[in-house]
Symmetry: C2
Subunit: 258 residues, 2 copies
Amino acid sequence: MADGLTIGQAAAFVGVTIKTVRHYHRLGLVAEPERDGSGYRRYRSADLLRLVQVRTLAEAGVPLAEIGDLFDSDPEEFAASLDDVERRLTERIEDLIARRDTLHRLAHGDRTLLPDRARAVLDRLAERGFSPDYVAAQREALVLAQALVPEIFDSFLTRLENSLDDPELVELTKRGADAMSWDPDDPRIEELASALADKLLADRALPAPPTGSQSRADAAARYGLIDHHREDQAPAIARLNALVEAKLRAAGIDIPRQ
Amino acid sequence: MADGLTIGQAAAFVGVTIKTVRHYHRLGLVAEPERDGSGYRRYRSADLLRLVQVRTLAEAGVPLAEIGDLFDSDPEEFAASLDDVERRLTERIEDLIARRDTLHRLAHGDRTLLPDRARAVLDRLAERGFSPDYVAAQREALVLAQALVPEIFDSFLTRLENSLDDPELVELTKRGADAMSWDPDDPRIEELASALADKLLADRALPAPPTGSQSRADAAARYGLIDHHREDQAPAIARLNALVEAKLRAAGIDIPRQ
DNA sequence: GTGCACCCTGTCCTAAGGTCAAGGTCAACA
DNA sequence: TGTTGACCTTGACCTTAGGACAGGGTGCAC
């Protein structure tokens, strides 16, 4: 019997897998031991000691790529390196904790992560008799708005809230929601567009146009995306929106074209 | 200008990289949008919405492979899946915290993670005048013992402690340490082996032979490794050990052969 | 017509091993 | 003496969530 342990024995003694031992060899963390006549690796106590040391560092979360350098560094460098690793571990831990918290809100609150205020508005829309489909469309618009134009998300919400407090506007909006199923050539669309434009002009409750000259076009593009969301599914709504926009523009309101 | 955003605009609006968007396409998490005349992807609001939803889940730590299923699951399944992900995240967090604690001990205590009691024994060895090399060898033996035979680590330590309290044994051990530099044929080795064996037999302060018939051979192999650690670097020590073992065996002590 | 920014696809790379394949070796058992 | 099963060898491919790079096409402004 050649002396020294086989890789399986060595791995078992040290508490790692065979694959792990070979991995450490390939990375140069543990020198290859001598081979016996059949080419089997034979491990002696010095090899096991090294294996134990590498395993100890690896299990503590030190990246394998750094373990090699660690062995031939003096105690101050050694401690400094470990402090560095500890800092990185802490960052990862905090990142994971933040993710977990987000996940918790996602699982036990709203699947969309909308703030309470937005969810309240959507609930009120449903109570006021808007169709589930319309509420869903508004929810999607809010999700988009939150991600794409967070800076005006609040004013977006305020406009929705105010609309809900104005029975006349609620009526007009409901007819707009009905228009989803209309034919795009329906004459009622023209009529509804006029009524909506008049109402909006009377209230001056218009979306704040994006400010900031430099990113203006950019913000307009984002805003347009939200404004025209779902239009491709309801051509009548597209026509209604286009008509209302044209009328507002004719009245001197600055509405960016998509 | 074809309508819809380019991938760069879409990625910027949603807050991810272009590469990430393409990755989501390849995994089927976000359907490929239509292409324009040049083969460029053109994103519309529905695509952005989907992108926002995927990003929201991904940032919360949901594995990408599970996000696809999540979209077409009802609210209970949705919440259950997220709870599951949360549990896995918690496990990872706890694992990382444990690693960080280990790392902290490693950086600010002993590089070998030996318990205080072991470090105290090593300190006493150094104070008693044992050479740094001998102390290092003992440290290595302790590291090996802790990893390989944790069940008898305490008795191993106790034996070391008791040796330190016996001036006669300290003297003999010191001579043994000196033997590291002797020639393997040095006649003093035979003499020292006799003295050591006599002393050990008189004290009966012998290592507890491993018990448990089934794993006996296994434990003996582990123990032998520690016992013969560093022998290859000092043939004189190997001979000294072999002689002592032979004498003890001759006296009826059951010492497993390596 | 040239430069620059953007887009396309495809391939390789990450950390720490796991899994599978195809074949050689060892000890025990019939 | 042959065979079986456990163990060893190397090599190649797989995992996460994208990043880096190569080689080439497109759009727009000067």
